[in-house]
């Protein structure tokens, strides 16, 4: 069953065409890792999926919600986009937790604001999710009192609180100290095991090997090649992929 369908997606910032026609179909429960050099348009692609950037051209469908780029910005379109967003969790590189709310309040925010859940029920949901990401004992801490890894796990719990169909991760561990990366990746891995459909932008090759059903390599706004992690990491066909892997591995083995 198809969960995400992206058709000839284009995005330009002024004259700078950042996405030059992306086609990508992702099945339910599939885990897709997107890799590629800095500036290749990975973040832009993910942000377009959530309409944090308005695409210039193309069609995006997530679950039952389909949105055409460049459509008239009317009530109906805004509503569909909002519904689509409710069903997609977005995890940012910089966490973007709400600093004036405690961990549990951050997680309760979605159910209360979006689903109209009663406070007590939202608290129950949030507590269970914080336990799930290993932060049951940090409920009443403010983001400023948590480590980066803990903050990112709260952010993941916050997204999960809306029961998303899909989770999008934009370099979820890039802002973390190396020793905090693993705890976040383990949470994401557990979601993969539960069958969550996910699109993950990351440079963590070992992680990609562990969880990715498919690795997509992007460069300069196009998908250069894709395949299983074995295909891409062991037998890359395209020169650009080889060069990129060479650089990343050089860093990893340093």
């Amino acid at each position: 069953m198809t969960m995400i369908q992206i058709e000839h997606l284009k995005k330009a910032f002024g004259d700078n065409e950042v996405l030059k026609g992306i086609d990508l179909t992702i099945d339910k429960s599939e885990v897709v890792v997107i890799m590629g050099p800095s500036g290749s348009g990975k973040s832009t692609l993910l942000r377009c999926l959530n309409f944090l950037e308005e695409p210039t051209d193309g069609i995006i469908q997530i679950g039952e919600y389909q949105v055409h780029a460049g459509g008239k910005i009317d009530r109906h379109r805004k509503k569909v986009i909002r519904e689509l967003r409710k069903k997609t969790g977005f995890v940012f590189q910089s966490f973007n937790l709400f600093p004036h709310k405690t961990a549990i309040e951050n997680v309760m925010e979605g159910p209360i604001a979006i689903h109209g859940t009663k406070t007590e029920e939202a608290r129950t949901i949030a507590e269970a999710l914080l336990v799930k990401v290993g932060l049951g004992d940090r409920c009443d801490h403010f983001p400023a009192q948590l480590s980066g890894g803990q903050q990112q796990r709260v952010a993941i719990a916050r997204s999960l609180a809306l029961n998303p169909l899909v989770m999008l991760f934009d370099e979820p561990t890039s802002a973390l100290d190396p020793e905090l990366v693993r705890e976040v990746l383990l949470v994401i891995k557990s979601l993969a095991e539960e069958g969550m459909t996910m699109v993950i932008v990351t440079h963590e090759m070992n992680f990609a090997k562990e969880v990715a059903d498919r690795v997509v390599f992007m460069d300069e706004g196009i998908i250069v090649e894709q395949g299983t992690s074995k295909d891409i990491f062991l037998n890359p066909k395209e020169e650009r992929t080889k060069q990129f892997l060479y650089k990343v591995e050089a860093v990893v083995t340093e």
Partner: protein, 218 residues
């Protein structure tokens, strides 16, 4: 300096201080509303309204408050709008403070990291929801120091409406001096009252600032 004069004039001065507080309080409330909506209009660049808001802020900041008071009290009757001195004073003070507040609201809303709006929108919140639940609570904290400053300035500015015969603290002082011929004593007492009043509000608002920043403490 004659102490009995101070004691005799104190009740009248304190009563006039209530008028000063009243003018400042009601004007700041109206100014907060004006300032907030002006800021939102300017941030969202709402068609037409944005131009009006920009002109309003520019006019208020670019002309002396005393002139604004004169235009409202002495000028408007000429086109059939006659307001009593207190209403004129409140109108001038709140329009003036509203312009300054809109600037600090605008700056403080824009100072909230863009990621906060993105996180809210990506959850499926509407723009007003995100503003109300996530952005404004944070920008209010950022704005509190400048808001308190505006309020302090407003308390001082109320003395300007003495020129249109509103019997607030300064006007009352002048009235008493007309009878007692003790300008130094009476004006110093008035100054002391302003000083106490402003120190009190400064302390109060400082507390508020500390309270509202609790979550930032590690």
């Amino acid at each position: 300096m004659d102490v009995t004069i101070i004691i005799d004039s104190l009740p009248s001065l304190l009563k006039a201080t209530l008028m000063t507080i009243f003018l400042a309080a009601i004007s700041i409330l109206i100014a907060l509303v004006i300032g907030f909506f002006t800021a939102i209009i300017r941030i969202l660049k709402v068609k037409v309204l944005n131009e009006i808001a920009n002109t309003y802020v520019s006019l208020m900041r670019g002309t002396p408050l005393l002139v604004q008071i004169f235009v409202i009290y002495y000028g408007l009757p000429q086109i059939g709008i006659s307001l009593d001195p207190i209403s004129s004073g409140v109108l001038a003070l709140s329009l003036n403070a509203g312009a300054y507040l809109s600037e600090s609201f605008r700056a403080s809303i824009l100072a909230v990291d863009n990621g906060q709006m993105e996180a809210s929108m990506s959850m499926g919140m509407t723009y007003p929801q995100a503003l109300k639940r996530i952005i404004l609570p944070q920008s209010l904290r950022i704005a509190i120091p400048t808001l308190s400053n505006s309020f302090i300035v407003l308390i001082k500015d109320t003395s300007l409406v003495s020129v249109i015969t509103v019997t607030e603290l300064l006007q009352m002082s002048s009235l008493i001096i007309a009878k007692t011929f003790e300008p130094l004593t009476i004006y110093l007492v008035a100054a002391a009252i302003y000083w106490i009043l402003i120190s009190f509000f400064t302390k109060l608002l400082d507390k508020l600032e500390v309270q509202s920043s609790k979550y930032l403490v590690r």
